[in-house]
């Protein structure tokens, strides 16, 4: 059963390990998240906890049904909401805070985030096509995709790699090592890079 937390990507830096190795880390502001709701087997058919992240002002909740939901649950409004599968949902009450101490240093986690959007990208950027020749009499044929099919097929096959929207997709990175947890500042340091820009929302979940 997975357990998770919402966080914000702050940026990257490098730190020294005890043996002197310097490694690149991504700094995450992880939690504290508020328990907004619980899902159990009898009522919902699955066990999960709904977490809210980033406290916001009451008047900033422009969505009226959402404002009513916060009022009904009697919790402070928050900017982001996500459900996580939790094994021990009995341990938590609505309104409880969940912090980064559900993880341990050295543990491996999965991280879900949205990658950086690249806009409408050509085939060289999107599918690593090699493009046309720069010389040998070529003109205006340097980044074109080339042929997209045979004449006797009379159509383009499904799945043909073509230009289009690239990035801004949900990406899950698996088995990232937690290098360090700083509970005072609610920071988690993960080894290596993460998808998405700085200040983006990320979900961290345990590897089950």
């Amino acid at each position: 059963m997975k357990t998770g937390l919402l966080g914000k990507k702050i940026g990257m830096t490098s730190i020294f390990l005890e043996n002197g190795d310097s490694i690149g880390v991504t700094v995450l502001e992880a939690g504290p998240c508020i328990v907004l709701n619980k899902r159990d087997e009898q009522k919902d058919g699955y066990r999960a906890i709904q977490l809210g992240f980033v406290a916001i002002n009451k008047k900033d909740v422009t969505n009226k049904p959402l404002a009513g939901y916060f009022k009904k649950q009697n919790v402070a409004p928050c900017g982001y909401i996500k459900e996580f599968k939790f094994k021990d949902i009995e341990e938590y009450e609505i309104g409880n805070e969940i912090k980064a101490d559900i993880f341990q240093e050295g543990e491996r986690v999965n991280v879900i985030a949205f990658s950086k959007g690249k806009g409408f990208a050509g085939t060289q950027k999107r599918h690593n096509f090699s493009g046309g020749a720069k010389t040998h009499g070529q003109k205006d044929y340097h980044r074109a995709p080339g042929s997209i099919g045979a004449v006797d097929a009379a159509r383009v096959f499904k799945g043909q790699k073509l230009p289009g929207r690239m990035g801004n997709k949900r990406v899950k990175i698996k088995n990232i090592e937690i290098v360090k947890i700083d509970l005072d500042r609610n920071l988690i340091l993960l080894k290596g890079a993460l998808p998405g820009p700085n200040n983006a929302l990320v979900a961290i979940e345990k590897v089950s």
């Binding site: 702050i10 940026g11 990257m12 830096t13 730190i15 043996n19 002197g20 310097s22 500042r185």
Partner: protein
């Protein structure tokens, strides 16, 4: 961004390093060989400081048996025991890469 600055500041061990390009320095580096630990000393002329902050590195150059040897040390690494100033130099620029082309006595900073 403040979080990142804080993390980097915590990494810094030698906050004010009193050596400048042109100085003759001695870098004491901790080396672990299996079980054994020892300190290796590298003495040479500091020819440049780079990056800054917790990622700052120094380049030290010496000439052994007519062959130039350069080592780059991350100065905030826990494996750097100390960086000793042996003799003050008088360099007029920040990066002394021109010393690589000098042969013999000219390669020494006055």
């Amino acid at each position: 961004m403040q979080f990142i600055k804080n993390i980097e500041n915590e990494q810094m061990q030698k906050i004010a390093l009193e050596v400048k390009p042109g100085d003759l320095v001695e870098v004491h580096q901790r080396i672990i060989e299996g079980e054994r630990k020892r300190i290796q000393i590298f003495r040479g002329i500091l020819i440049g400081r780079k990056h800054g902050g917790s990622r700052e590195t120094i380049t030290v150059r010496k000439v052994t048996k007519g062959i130039g040897v350069e080592k780059i040390f991350p100065i905030h690494s826990p494996n750097i025991e100390q960086i000793k100033l042996i003799k003050k130099g008088s360099a007029r620029r920040a990066k002394l890469y021109y010393l690589r082309d000098r042969v013999g006595q000219k390669g020494l900073m006055a």
